[in-house]
């Protein structure tokens, strides 16, 4: 089956998605799952009255089935109690869409998961005592990057002294503090390919730098670490570990900046 061979119902929800948007208010909670790196990111918003979902909306970045499943999920849960909605599965959503291509079952049918996250967030807020304490996401950064010493002066930089070194280069900056954010921003004057990588869920820095970053051409990769720097004689690529998905992939770069 071709990846685009969707049922008519799926195509209808892709073409005319129901409930696109966000909800706000004291009785609203939201859940977010997925990762843009993998091609899908979904947010589901629920409005709750007397333990019942009275409205639901979504925003999705993703393929046709990602959009259709988000739309269908929000349609299905309206009127359900929170307990009922917790029971809703990916399979229920796929069935209601008259099936999805097998290859799409896993990757893009995340909307039910986003819904469950929203319900958990709502319950945690209503009953703070019962909420399971969230384990801290913070991990002690691993300092050893394989290849860091080997490629010193061959594409690995421990400081930014001459901006012209980076002219037209593909530069990866590890987020090690405000100085690294400033460096990433400065280098955008030399090249349009600057990636800032952080193990956190977002770049933690000053409001000013955050604003500048949002307006700049710097690409941010979150929840990721560098395991290894690779190349023949000089830096050619890095091995990235995506902590959220626990996946590894290679990113092609010419320079790596590690300001310690």
């Amino acid at each position: 089956m071709k990846s685009t061979q969707y049922s008519e119902k799926t195509l209808d929800h892709f073409r005319n998605p129901r409930n696109v948007g966000v909800l706000e208010g004291d009785d609203v909670a939201s859940g977010r799952v997925g990762n843009p790196t993998c091609g899908d990111l979904m947010e589901v918003f629920i409005k709750v009255e007397d333990d019942r979902i009275v409205d639901a909306k979504f925003r999705t970045f993703g393929c046709g089935s990602a959009i259709a499943t988000s739309s269908m999920t929000t349609e299905m849960v309206k009127g359900m109690t929170l307990d009922e909605a917790m029971e809703l599965t990916r399979d229920d959503v796929a069935t209601e869409l008259d099936g999805l291509p097998p290859i799409k079952m896993h990757c893009s049918n995340l909307a039910a998961d986003a819904l469950h996250e929203a319900i958990k967030a709502y319950r945690a807020r209503e009953n703070p005592d019962e909420a399971v304490p969230k384990k801290s996401d913070y991990e002690e950064p691993t300092c050893v990057i394989v290849g860091q010493d080997k490629f010193l002066d061959k594409g690995v930089y421990l400081e930014v002294s001459d901006l012209e070194d980076f002219s037209d280069q593909r530069v990866l900056v590890l987020h090690t503090g405000d100085e690294s954010v400033e460096a990433a921003l400065e280098i955008t004057s030399q090249t349009d390919r600057v990636v800032l990588l952080t193990p956190e869920k977002e770049i933690v820095t000053t409001e000013t730098l955050k604003d500048e970053l949002a307006r700049s051409s710097v690409k941010v990769i979150t929840e990721s670490r560098i395991l290894e720097i690779r190349g023949e004689f000089e830096v050619e690529k890095v091995l990235v570990h995506n902590l959220d998905e626990d996946e590894q992939y290679e990113l092609f770069v010419d320079a790596v900046i590690i300001i310690e």
Partner: protein, 392 residues
């Protein structure tokens, strides 16, 4: 789709056969159906057509007629070039170099050779997708027997410095293969000027029939056959020749030879209009590939906050056929290896759109895609939680 005209802008993935080619092929299915190996008169007619086609195609690429081997397409030509040459020369060495942006057929053949005990190096490209010669040279070893670098990239249209690669290979005494399929009809192909020893061509990319291709094999750069049988094509490629297909490829090449200059000008006009309008009018849009060293028919973009399959489906609903490098449309769910090799992060590769006009497009096809594109992007971006407009 009612009375909306279908618009096809995916010529890089497949081309229609030119009707003039079909006319010229027809007699070879029934009247002149002979087997070129047969000695009777019916066989002679086939042999004549076969050899005339061989000469015409050799002429077109500045080769000798005995350097042309007909195959079932570029995939087979690639297999012959890499596997056939590696097997023939394994006593000389077992190291092969390819680029990181080769067509999937070359990539998978290289993986096969690795499993069979050969050693493969992959040369990185710059951010425009061009092979970096310095990095290629550094990968050459004493036991390197073959370098394979495409003439131009089939996704982002970047033209490779093959004359320089050919020169380097010649100096080092290494065979040089190029997969020239993406460049067909868009760049002049001259094996002598490019210093190419082995080259793969496909008939379809000249607007000829599918199922036919050519391996150009320079004298002294022999390969082992990979199809064994009745010994056709001087024992290098067995199987009764598909004379109709071969004549079709010849006719397609002859038409291309006459019409290419005008056609390239026209396609380049389409390409430049697409690129200039999109980059000017669509916020947060970027060009993939090289700004100037690119095929005349290739416009390749990426858009912030958009996933390619959603874009493709939206175009499909409007009767427009386009292509994307997004993972969600591939069999493996991996994003385009070419886009990744240029240094894009996965999220960016997911939002790519490839538009490749060709011979049968008209001005209003370009009008239509430029009219539909902003609507499609606005709709998809409107649903996206990660789209933060940077410009405007």
């Amino acid at each position: 789709m009612g009375d909306i005209k279908e618009v096809y802008l995916d010529y890089q993935s497949s081309k229609p056969v030119d009707p003039r080619v079909i006319d010229g092929m027809l007699p070879y299915f029934h009247e002149r159906f002979g087997n070129a190996s047969a000695l009777h008169r019916v066989g002679d007619v086939a042999t004549e057509a076969l050899e005339e086609s061989r000469r015409a195609i050799a002429d077109y690429i500045n080769a000798d007629h005995d350097e042309i081997i007909f195959t079932s397409g570029a995939t087979e030509a690639n297999n012959m070039a890499l596997i056939g040459y590696a097997l023939k020369n394994k006593r000389k060495g077992n190291h092969i170099i390819i680029s990181e942006v080769e067509h999937i057929s070359i990539r998978n053949i290289a993986k096969y050779l690795e499993r069979e005990g050969f050693d493969v190096s992959r040369v990185p490209v710059d951010k425009y997708g061009r092979v970096v010669l310095r990095k290629l040279e550094r990968r050459i070893r004493d036991n390197t027997i073959l370098i394979s670098v495409q003439n131009a990239n089939n996704e982002i249209g970047t033209i490779q410095p093959i004359a320089e690669v050919g020169k380097l290979a010649e100096e080092k005494g290494i065979a040089f293969h190029t997969d020239a399929v993406a460049a067909e009809g868009l760049l002049p192909i001259d094996v002598k000027r490019a210093g190419v020893h082995l080259m793969s061509l496909s008939s379809n990319d000249f607007y000829g029939p599918r199922g036919i291709g050519v391996l150009y094999m320079k004298k002294r750069y022999r390969v082992n056959p990979i199809l064994i049988g009745g010994g056709q094509e001087r024992g290098l490629r067995s199987g009764t020749e598909d004379i109709a297909g071969i004549v079709g490829m010849k006719l397609a090449v002859e038409i291309m030879k006459r019409e290419m200059p005008g056609e390239v000008d026209r396609l380049q006009g389409y390409r430049d209009r697409l690129i200039n309008t999109v980059l000017d009018e669509i916020p947060d849009s970027y060009l993939n590939g090289h700004p100037t060293e690119r095929l005349a028919s290739n416009a390749h973009f990426r858009f912030d906050g958009v996933e390619g399959e959603a874009m493709l489906l939206s175009f499909k609903d409007k009767g427009i056929s386009v292509s994307t490098g997004s993972a969600c449309t591939s069999k493996t769910l991996e994003p385009s290896h070419t886009l990744i090799a240029t240094g894009l992060i996965h999220e960016e590769a997911h939002g790519s759109l490839q538009l490749t006009p060709g011979r049968f497009n008209e001005d209003n096809d370009i009008d239509r895609v430029l009219e539909v594109l902003p609507e499609v992007l606005t709709r998809i971006r409107g649903m996206s939680p990660i789209y933060n407009p940077k410009s405007r």
